[in-house]
């Protein structure tokens, strides 16, 4: 038999103005198991709270109903109050007499009747609640950053500067991401490499940062404060302790491979550094193309290596470590426009290039040493067409969203082209020009002054006649058809999430939207957190962004991580799912439905009918479970129940209500 105390609040006249609180109290006294009822002008005030405490001690109350404002307002207050009393903070139910009763009804009689029901429901529920206890979750003071682009590097630096250990996992052979491929950055036209490479070396040299290049996340388990992550470091075939990065091997390697860093516009060797300023500044061997590794013949690099660092026997290495927090900074790639836009030649024409290819073409360290030369015949294009929104804002063919950065970098491309080819003509086909940013619109205006011709409309077809690319399109401002004969066409293609994001996010149970961008916990108020506690987002993995926005978000994610790692332990939410192992059949329907991967099926030994039986049962990870209760509904036997909102307590509430 429980001893329930009911505390009803007047809330000045907020509740008492419409609800006859004393009548409610009178009714409450008649309810079974209620041993004490008190009304108060302001229960949440200091004297009000003191009164509750005293009553609990004096009357030997073991569970509490508060009839006052919404639990969303003061439930934490009451829990805190109960923590100082013998009553467990979770032996509490709040009847919402203000927001959902007195404030929305005018008729005193009706409102009082409803208040009575709400208190009845609360009493019915509280009578069968069980005491719940938080557990302490230790926090491993180490962070993992996935992705070594500008967002990942910035996050790592900020966390490391705060004194915590950080590991960066980078899939490519060097840090730098997309930013280091760019030539200049808008709107200031800083050289991208000049501002990115110092960050790379700062990361590479930071005492608190471990860079795992050419590595990927293999496996994850655990939860906030305790993510156990296995990282696969792909075989580099080079002993980095011996290698000095002299580059002798690269000059002698006979194999030639298309250079992905230069967007396929030049060739590299099979033993290679991604680019000269790579961090780590040491090469790897591309096992797919190395003659020694594929045919067994060659071995030139090991002959020329002065330190004997080459090891053809090298294998992938797996390491497992525990991290307190994880930051996704996995970035983006450009959409593969070729299958989507056959009307642009679908890749048939060599001189129809992407924006990233153009970046390499104008880059002084790129394949043409900064001269704008079209790929097909290495001549200087005298007219260039830039097409924006290729794959963006095009739900029929590509993506419905705006890729955000393209308006600015297409203006930059136009500006750069006109700068390098003063007698050239540049036409930009656009849908809208969106330049909301500091100095952005000024930059766009300058490009117009440079002489770029902006034509509002899409290009419907690109075809070749002679050595000219004919672009047919519409000028929607004059409603006329336009045909431009160009030497080169630059497609400003949409950003899409990096390859493999679906698998990676699934490992961490991070949500993705329909386009596979990672989903933040709240679009406005929790933009860098995810719905899985302890996992944060930085940069374009969350959606298209430019560099300043990525860096901004990286800093925000870092501050969240620092806040978490500063704690020694976390208090878990005790209102989570619990398995009744006697009833659990282990069929795993709950595993399927859990959005957090908090439930697993384990084989356990039981003694049943005087026999030892091993059978599968569900197990809830208290660090991962957030208490949504979706699993409880899938459990036909009712083996899974949600503490604080048990099947029984909800049924009791329904029954209490039906007696009205």
């Amino acid at each position: 038999m429980s001893r329930i105390g009911v505390f009803l609040c007047y809330c000045g006249s907020n509740i008492a103005g419409t609800v006859d609180v004393e009548a409610v109290a009178e009714m409450a006294r008649s309810l079974p198991e209620v041993v004490y009822v008190e009304t108060n002008k302001y229960t949440c005030s200091d004297p009000g709270q003191e009164g509750v405490k005293n009553a609990i001690i004096e009357k030997g109350i073991d569970r509490v109903v508060v009839g006052a404002c919404s639990p969303r307002m003061h439930e934490p207050t009451w829990r805190k109050l109960l923590a100082d009393t013998p009553v467990n903070p979770y032996m509490l139910e709040v009847a919402n007499l203000r927001e959902q009763c007195s404030w929305v009804h005018k008729d005193r009689e009706v409102a009082t009747a409803k208040a009575i029901d709400l208190v009845k429901m609360a009493v019915a529920k509280v009578a069968r609640l069980q005491p719940l206890h938080s557990i302490e979750i230790p926090v491993h003071k180490k962070a993992l950053v996935i992705g070594g682009g500008i967002a990942g590097m910035q996050t790592a630096l900020d966390i490391a500067d705060a004194g915590f250990q950080v590991t960066i996992v980078e899939r490519e052979t060097s840090l730098g991401g997309k930013m280091v491929m760019l030539d200049k950055t808008f709107p200031t036209m800083d050289c991208s490499a000049c501002i990115c490479t110092p960050k790379m070396s700062e990361v590479g040299n930071h005492p608190n940062i471990t860079v795992k290049s050419y590595s990927e996340v293999e496996n994850v388990s655990g939860y906030i404060g305790n993510f156990e992550v296995t990282i696969r470091e792909k075989a580099k075939f080079i002993d980095y302790n011996l290698c000095t990065g002299c580059g002798a091997c690269e000059t002698k390697c006979p194999a030639k491979v298309t250079n992905a860093f230069e967007q396929g516009m030049s060739q590299r060797t099979a033993i290679y550094k991604m680019f000269p300023q790579a961090v780590p500044a040491k090469p790897v061997i591309d096992a797919e193309h190395c003659l020694k590794l594929t045919t067994g013949k060659c071995g030139v690099c090991s002959k020329v290596c002065p330190t004997g660092a080459i090891n053809y026997e090298d294998e992938d290495k797996l390491t497992t470590e525990t991290y307190g927090a994880v930051v996704f900074a996995t970035g983006y790639k450009l959409i593969d426009w070729k299958p989507l836009y056959p009307e642009y030649g679908g890749g048939k024409y060599e001189d129809v290039i992407t924006g990233l290819q153009f970046e390499r073409l104008v880059n002084a360290s790129g394949p043409t040493e900064g001269h704008v030369l079209r790929p097909s015949d290495r001549t200087e294009p005298k007219s260039v067409v830039i097409i924006k929104c290729v794959g963006s804002r095009d739900p029929n063919k590509g993506k419905a969203y705006c890729s955000r950065a393209c308006c600015m970098y297409s203006a930059k491309h136009a500006h750069q082209y006109l700068d390098k080819v003063p007698d050239g003509k540049c036409y930009v086909f656009y849908m809208d020009v969106r330049t909301p940013g500091k100095g952005y619109d000024e930059f766009y205006m300058n490009t117009l002054h440079d002489g770029a011709q902006y034509i509002r409309g899409r290009v419907s077809k690109i075809y070749k006649e002679g050595d000219k690319l004919i672009c047919k399109g519409e000028d929607t401002l004059t409603s006329s058809q336009v045909t431009v004969s160009a030497d080169m066409v630059v497609l400003e293609t949409a950003m899409v999430p990096a390859d493999g994001i679906d698998e990676l996010a699934a490992k961490f149970t991070v949500g993705r939207d329909a386009d596979s961008w990672l989903v933040e916990a709240h679009a406005k108020l929790r933009p860098v957190e995810t719905n899985t506690a302890g996992i944060y987002l930085a940069g374009t993995c969350q959606g298209p962004k430019d560099i300043p926005d990525s860096v901004c978000q990286a800093g925000a994610a870092a501050s969240k991580v620092i806040g978490l790692l500063n704690k020694d332990a976390l208090q878990s939410n005790p209102q989570i799912s619990r398995v009744n192992e006697t009833l659990c059949q282990g069929d795993g329907a709950c595993v399927n439905i859990c959005p957090y991967g908090a439930i697993s099926i384990v084989e356990k030994q039981f003694r049943e009918n005087s026999r030892k039986v091993v059978r599968p049962v569900a197990q809830v990870n208290p660090g991962l479970c957030q208490g949504c209760g979706a699993c409880t509904v899938t459990c036909r036997a009712g083996a899974m129940d949600l503490l604080g909102y048990t099947n029984e307590s909800i049924m009791r509430e329904v029954d209490a209500l039906c007696q009205w």
Binding site: C584, Q585, D587, T634, E648, R652, D655
Partner: protein
Amino acid sequence: MTAQDTIRARARELLESGEVASFVGWEAGRFANQTTPLIISDPADADKLVFNEYCVNTLAKYVRDLVPRGKVGLVVRGCDSRGIVRLIVDQVIKREDVYLIGVGCPGVIDRKSGEPLKKCTECRHNNPVICDEMAGDEVAKDAPADRFAEVREVELMAQPERSRYFESIYAKCIRCYACRDVCPCCTCRECFVDARRENWVGKQNNVAENRFYGLTRVMHIGDRCIECGECERVCPMDLPLMKLNRKVIQDLNDLFGEFESSMSLDEGPEPLITYDLADREEFM
């Protein structure tokens, strides 16, 4: 060799070699048009096994209680095999717990009427969906009767009529739980109706509690039902239970795409424990 001969021979071999501890099939009943399920563990009993058009019982559920005593051999038709798939997917037994002798089944005959049993005229899978070996050939499938015809019939009734119709069903139900006991989807360690939990489900036999049982039963098995029709066949009050199961199955098919439960061991999650972002939206 007839399928029955093969079954007998193989059952004897399996029991003799010790590969299975028990074997489940049918034996002849008192009358020629009658059979009962038979569980044997002595190879000498193998000749009692029969297989004919009166084998009305579906065997899968018997396996559950036999598995703790060792591997079970059993004869499976389409319905039995889907029951076995269900039990395996629901982790009640493991695949290696059973040895399945498949047999094609053209449908069985109702002993009372001499007509094919209703569940068989609607059957879409005459041959086993899994088995270790086949006794005899697969049978060709006749076009089955429209399994949703009875659902549509009810849907065409006016609302008050439907309400009275189901009320009459619930009033007639005696809560014997035969439908549950025979169902291969009902494998909870403790059924919710047996649970002694306050406010969970009442034990009274009245329309309200019977409705609670009936509706909950359908929600529990709807997306896993193998449509063997046994619940309806065993009901001593002859309640048309498949009208409820099939309603859910029909809606699942209509709303979330073609789906038949328990057709293979590696099929994806059932429709109610998964979702699609593009699901129909009716609740805006």
